[in-house]
């Protein structure tokens, strides 16, 4: 289980990094691999994981090898999609010539 200090307000880019990595992987991901991929230390990773678990963006899954893996939920995918959509809309607005 994740036992970390609660995260008051997540950094948008760090959170997006976690969600993007899980989305790209497309399958359950080892916690340590996700931590390395997100380029954060263990303590920070745990706080973000806890924050995402609380909001049901990800779930933890036990695997046969005894390691816990992180899975992106439909809500997590939707959250990442929303962030990507908004950033895309900024450039879609008419640019000055």
């Amino acid at each position: 289980m994740v036992d970390a200090l609660p995260l008051e307000r997540p950094d948008l880019y760090v959170l997006a990094r976690h969600l993007e990595r899980l989305w790209r992987e497309g399958e359950p991901m080892l916690k340590t691999r996700l931590q390395v991929a997100a380029n954060v230390n263990y303590d920070v990773f745990n706080r973000y994981l806890s924050w995402m678990l609380d909001r049901n963006l990800v779930v933890l899954e036990d695997s046969d090898d005894g390691h816990e893996r992180v899975v992106l939920t439909a809500k997590g995918r939707e959250a990442y999609l929303k962030l990507v959509q908004w950033i895309n809309e900024v450039i879609k607005e008419e640019l000055p010539k």
Binding site: V84, W86, V90
Partner: protein
């Protein structure tokens, strides 16, 4: 053939025949007439090749949907695409571009194409037109048209949605599509900023070279004709002194030009490369390496640079203020000619004082026009920056609020 195209061809032919008839009437039928007839024919064909808009196909969906879908597919194929209301502009080669128009046709859209050139392509076309009196411009325009037609037939037609709903509607929620679009737009803006700045840098070198030769000649003539001291009567000194003065005056300009341009060019090129690599990975469906920033972060960082890129692109665009720049250029040439004549004739006639005064007045006018242009450009630049930062802040607030409410 669409009625508009037919109208363009007929009107161009009428104008062409009328001009040749006028020349024959006033100059008689001779070689000169043949020359002008061929010239007008070349110019007319040149104009037609860029202004006729042939029909390509019909696609399912509204014009907006079809163009969005096509833009996405082309960006996935790593083409540089600019979206404009009712049309797309696609760069095919460094010189050739194509415009794709979509017009509503009931439930479908009629797709049309038009040959176009990139800024570099237009420069080559205009230079060819000026130096060959239009004759070499025509084959080049024909090349653009054929290249655009081939691209339309081979690349565009197979990608048009033939039935059902276009993909832009079906896959509107796809994350990868959005990332590709955002990365591609970022790459296009960074690459355009790089190309515009590189072009300005080359122009600046050309201008410095031209200025150096002009200054050297003026100094040579001034020393040769204006002064008759022992120092300048020696041919060796007559060459060394203007060269040394020219070098001393131009060296700081060369230094400041390099100092200003090179870091910017390097920066824009780096950004364009980073975005291109990310785009390639995304279109190849690769997963990014563990320590690289995410595509989302890269896009967010790149978008902070957009006002700078827009400004660089605007500064490199001669066409936007072409009228004012032509006026400045003409005044500068006239001022240089008057100053040159004034100096040469200084010992022979009092008219030279008038010429020098006229040159000074023209230089003042040039400066006045230039400072007005610069002031307006600075105002526009700060407005763009403010507007863009506002857009980014609104987006950021929206995202943070969404995360808080999760």
């Amino acid at each position: 053939m669409r009625r508009n195209n037919l109208l363009k061809i007929v009107s161009a032919t009428i104008v062409n025949v009328a001009l040749v008839a006028l020349i024959v009437k006033y100059a008689g039928a001779n070689l000169t007439v043949l020359f002008y007839a061929a010239f007008f024919m070349s110019v007319t064909l040149w104009w037609l090749l860029f202004y006729i808009i042939p029909h390509l196909d019909t696609a399912a969906g509204t014009p907006k949907e079809v163009l969005q879908d096509l833009a996405h597919r082309l960006r996935s194929g790593r083409y540089r695409v600019t979206e404009e209301p009712g049309k797309l502009s696609i760069q095919i080669t460094p010189l050739v571009a194509i415009k794709v128009h979509a017009v509503s046709d009931g439930a479908n859209s009629e797709i049309l194409y038009q040959a176009d050139a990139t800024p570099g392509g237009w420069t080559v076309l205009v230079l060819l037109f000026l130096f060959t009196r239009g004759f070499a411009g025509f084959p080049m325009a024909l090349y653009h048209f054929l290249k655009a037609r081939r691209f339309a037939e081979d690349q565009l037609r197979p990608q048009l949605p033939k039935g059902g709903v276009p993909r832009a509607k079906v896959g509107a929620g796809d994350i990868r599509d959005r990332l590709i679009d955002s990365l591609s737009e970022g790459h296009r803006l960074a690459a355009e900023a790089y190309e515009a700045t590189q072009s300005r840098y080359e122009d600046r070198w050309l201008l410095l070279g031209f200025g150096a030769v002009l200054l050297w000649l003026i100094l040579l003539v001034t020393l040769g004709f204006g002064l008759h001291s022992n120092l300048t009567s020696n041919p060796a000194y007559l060459l060394i002194i203007p060269s040394a003065i020219t070098l001393a005056i131009l060296a700081p300009s060369v230094w400041s030009t390099r100092k200003w341009f090179e870091p910017r060019i390097h920066d824009y090129r780096e950004w364009a490369e980073r975005l291109r690599k990310a785009l390639e990975k995304e279109t190849a469906h690769e997963t990014t390496g563990s320590l690289e920033s995410s595509a989302f972060e890269l896009i967010a960082q790149a978008y902070r640079q957009v006002p700078i890129w827009l400004e660089a692109r605007r500064k490199g665009s001669f066409s936007r203020e072409s009228g004012a720049w032509m006026l400045i250029f003409t005044c500068a040439i006239a001022a240089a000619s008057m100053a040159f004549l004034g100096i040469v004739l200084y010992s022979f006639t009092t008219w030279s004082l008038g010429l020098l005064t006229g040159a000074a007045a023209l230089i003042s006018l040039c400066y006045l026009l230039y400072s007005r242009l610069r002031k307006r450009a600075n105002e526009e630049g700060s407005r763009t920056l403010k507007d863009w930062n506002y857009r980014l802040d609104v987006m950021h607030q929206k995202m943070v609020k969404y995360l808080e409410e999760l």
